[in-house]
Amino acid sequence: MSPRRMGTIVGDTIRRRAKGGETSARSVGFLVVLWFCLLFALMFLVVLIVTTWIEGADRLDARLFTEYPASDPERAGARPAILGSLWVIGTTAIMAIPLGIAAAIHLEEFADSNHWLNRIVEINVQNLAAIPSIIYGMLTLAALGLFAVVNKNMVWVGALALSMLILPVIIIATREALRAVPAEIRQGSLALGATPLQTTFRNTLPAAIPGIATGAILALSRALGEAAPLLLLGGLVFLSFDPNGLLSGYTTLPIQIFNWTGRPQDGFHALAAAASILLVAILLAMNAVAIVIRNKFQLRW
């Protein structure tokens, strides 16, 4: 082959690859755009965390946990809000998790998926998961009006609204977890003479617990960060005491942040930032626990 012919072939190949290959300008440009998309989102997160930290790190001290709201930002703290959040989330967990697991067990293990009622329930759960959270607050408000309950500011009322909010999420997550358990587990149990109920509660459910726990923790972390439904239920209130019971008045950490954010003094903005750091830290911890549970305990079939 003459050098000239070789040169032509090489030149053609280079030109062809340059037009459509991995290193072409358009391909590289595309990759740069994709990187930019990802990095922009991450940068936003970093800026958010950094600005919040700069504003609030000073106030991230014991006062946040031990002091009560006050008109002087130097003396104020989020103690009732933190305890209120704990009470509301704890009550929500007790209300929503058993109910969600029970519904998911029924839908996944026992319901005839061709029956019209069960199909409606399934579509319904998908719909409920996408409804704006404030509507659950309105539902609870209407329910209270129906039963002539006058005082809305009680822990169980807030927990009721949040439970209805996260119930679809728990149901969906539990169903996924149950679905991942292979049929052989159930079949083996039945073959050994267990009833379907015994199979579910002694074999299938325990095998699905890591997935259920992950889903439940993620659902609760969502409930912890919600403020809108509770605003409708009298959550924005000044408390001079610790919430201490299901019937007690309460406020929550997101609502306290909302309260302080709206105040013009810089001292309160710093407090809002500090409380935000605390809230995000708690949520990250919960998410990390959920991921750890999923990675460590999830059975690989």
């Binding site: 009560y68 006050a70 704990l86 500011n153 890591p210 924005l236």
Partner: protein, 319 residues
Amino acid sequence: MNSKITFVGAAALAASATLLLTGCGGQPTGTETSGAGISGSVTADGSSTVAPLTEAAADIYRDVEAGVQVTVATSGTGGGFKVFCAGETDISNASRPIKDEEAAICADAGIEYTEIVIANDGLSVVVNPENDWAQCLTVEQLNTIWAPESEGVVTNWNQVDPSFPDVALTLYGAGTDSGTFDYFTAAINGEEGASRTDYSPSEDDNVTIQGVAGEPGALGYFGLSYLEENLDVIKGVEIDGGAGCVAPSVETVQDGTYTPLARPLFIYVSNASYAEKPAVKAFVDYYVENAVPVAEAALFVPLTADQVTVAQEELATLG
């Protein structure tokens, strides 16, 4: 399988233990129970102008009697009266006197109450710090700005007064449940509730501050305490009520020269709650007897000596 159940059980146990420990936790640190060991709850609702005063009182009172649990909500003066006359609250914070219709509702429901003037207030008109043309506004000019007929019409400062520059007028103010709204519209527009509607209404006066602080052509109104707390971001306007420009301050409000926007602030105490709930009695007694120091701590205009005497007399009728 067993380890997982143990793990979940342990986690549940830990969570409930934490909840019980913090929830049923003992006295908050830093307070000694030096009081008589009274416990109970006190519910207050109503004006967002008066709420900081009641909150300040509750804050101070917690150091005296840790067992008294005070809840203060802000539904606006009108909203506060609605729940008060339904028997749901013990104290109603109000930045205007109770209306006849509201008093009738209370009477129908069998709620007897006592009206106590707890502090004074100068309703302040505020503008952005960059606003150097509106140092003093007359009542007529305010009426031009806020009258119902001005809706959609008066949108620029130079329409208020030809000497003012060409700057867009953005308005912030109180919502319709607010006693501040009722009082301001009555004083400026001559009729309670008469106002243009194309402004940013909010029951939360802090939104007004944020709004006014952010735009050069903005104007808003709220109680004096909010102005005094935020002099670094907004500016007060002197009001000419017919006798010259007067700036709102403790003195001008107390001696009545800040007209027509000087007003008393009230709490309405449910007689039944006072009689039946020791916590309510203790808190109200403390609040009224210490009305002047509490007002000073919260940057409100305190009662004059005469007003203090009247308040003590009202308190005595309760007891």
